[in-house]
Amino acid sequence: MLKYMLRRCVEMAGAMLVMSLLVFMLGRALGDPVSLLLSDYATAEDRALLTQELGLDKPLAVQYLTFLSKALRGDLGRSISADRQPVVDSVMRRLPASLQLAAAALLVSLLVGIPLGILAALRYDSWIDHLVRGIALVGQSVPVFWLGIVLMFIFSVLLGWLPTSGYGQLRNIVLPAATMSLFSIAAVTRLTRNSMREALDSDYVRLARIKGLAESRVIWQHALSNSLVPVLTFMGTFFATMITGAVVIETVFGWPGIGRLAFEAILARDFPLMQAVVLVMTALFMSANLAVDVLQAWLDPRVRL
């Protein structure tokens, strides 16, 4: 188990390195690094200073190593906006809001999706099953940003139940979290239903019945534990969709997280800021996946090889 975790950590570090290289190369290949890193109002002095700082006359490899060593020390440059804030500070300030939203969405999708999936599997081919499958089909076809707008229109504008935007109170997080979790509720429900069905039809569940175990034990221990394995595997995909979700949903609801920061960076064409957001989000994404892998290894002994 320890060896497995160690290996996964090394893999993650490698992937992070590749991502940083990718980000670095894109900045160099697709644009003039000096103008990307400075605002349009920068003086010639600034430009000369930065050129020297980046060592643009040096080989690309040296430039990358400089970038990397600075990044490791938490220095990803300054924003090109007027305040010239260090971008890492901006990202860190916005991070808690994003984590809150993501955690809420994750919790909701598991707490709703898994029971719904189980219900549909146990009442196979009943109206509940058909309803759940219908919701899952539609839920996976709705673009989240549009859903956010529609929910906001209904619950804030028409009904006036919830605020359109804001941060800090429980009522503020309801709409963004609901919007963000819809897709994953649909996916978790469908996965749980299918894997639960498969488990209920499996040889080991049949053996559990043959052994004379009570039906509750057969379902809640033998079948459920197995049907959660694919749900865990799906979490990786979930985190990936959550990144896009975070950017568009935080934008729609004015949520002060790093997703909206990314949108602000896009609007201002603020490359250093965007670069920081991308690297921090990647690190978060990979840590989350690592956590899922560890959880999966704990649940499923076959993974620990």
């Binding site: 990307l36 707008i149 950017v247 568009v248 991308v278 989000m281």
Partner: protein
């Protein structure tokens, strides 16, 4: 044992495939025939007719079935032209990803050995990275353009095709006719193209169909954020972004494009599922043996 498992199972695949296929055909036709079908110029609006509601509502105008936007442009016409943009991006990006990914996957699966290991390590790596962030970054650096968005999305998706093509190639490679072709002295590229590809095309087609739905949502999200298809092209995501500020007074501007996206994505998913049922490997294997 052809015991209880051999009991007949309801098959609805053909019906589903037929319905989804018809809807898809109508959509493609709408996109292709947009210049003929659209009642108005999607780019030029009549300012006098701005923010008109759909024709069946109070204050609606029969000339504008789904209403008009802030510049007086016809929502229906923009939707129809938007279908062209969204479907073009979807098909082009999926084709790009499919060709690149399948080629890499087939080569890896066919040759095996170190080449396979290296290629699959790269695929694993790409899968583990959140590629959508790269798309956003490119949007910031290079600015939005139709070509960029197609390349970016293609880049995000190719790894899945590579994985599937490799797995399927490994399956096909064991079959007798590949050995036969090899012993007949056919060159490797020819075997891959003429013998491997046709036999793994089914699952790849299913994946491609399902990916169309994914791409449409991805493109709409990027366009919504302003790093997708640049204005004035009426991509559905852009239409929603445009209508967002007016959702209170003119909901129709952003509701209809959303419905268009949902319908398209659902159609693609149903089509993919239906195809998968039709090409069910178990039944296929049963037919061959």
């Amino acid at each position: 044992m052809a015991g209880p498992a051999g009991a007949p199972v309801k098959r609805t695949a053909f019906g589903q495939l037929g319905i989804a296929g018809s809807i898809a055909a109508v959509m493609v036709a709408c996109a292709l025939l947009a210049p003929l079908l659209a009642p108005h110029d999607p780019y030029v609006g009549m300012l006098a007719d701005r923010l008109l509601p759909p024709s069946w509502l109070d204050g609606g105008d029969v000339r504008y079935l789904l209403g008009t936007d802030i510049l007086g442009r016809d929502v229906l016409s923009r939707l129809l032209y938007g279908a062209r943009v969204s479907l073009l991006v979807a098909v082009a990006a999926v084709m790009l990803a499919g060709i690149v990914g399948s080629t890499i996957g087939i080569v890896a699966g066919y040759f095996g050995g170190w080449l396979d290991s290296v290629l699959m390590r790269i695929v694993d790596l790409v899968v583990s990275l959140p590629m959508i962030l790269i798309a956003l970054l490119v949007g910031v650096i290079a600015g939005p353009s139709l070509t960029n968005i197609i390349i970016i999305i293609g880049f995000v998706l190719w790894s899945q095709f590579a994985r599937m093509a490799r797995a399927e190639t490994l399956r096909v490679r064991q079959l007798a006719f590949i050995d036969l072709a090899r012993s007949a002295g056919l060159a490797a590229p020819r075997i891959m193209l003429e013998h491997v590809l046709p036999n793994i095309a089914g699952p790849l087609l299913v994946l491609a169909t399902l990916q169309v739905g994914t791409v449409i949502i991805m493109e709409a999200s990027l366009s919504f954020l302003g790093v997708g298809v640049p204005p004035p092209a009426p991509a559905w995501g852009t239409l929603i972004a445009d209508g967002r500020s007016y959702v209170l007074s003119a909901w129709w501007i952003c509701i209809f494009p959303g419905l268009a996206i949902i319908t398209t994505v659902m159609t693609a998913n149903l089509l993919g599922d239906g195809l998968a049922d039709r090409l069910d490997p178990a039944r296929k294997a049963g037919g061959q043996s």
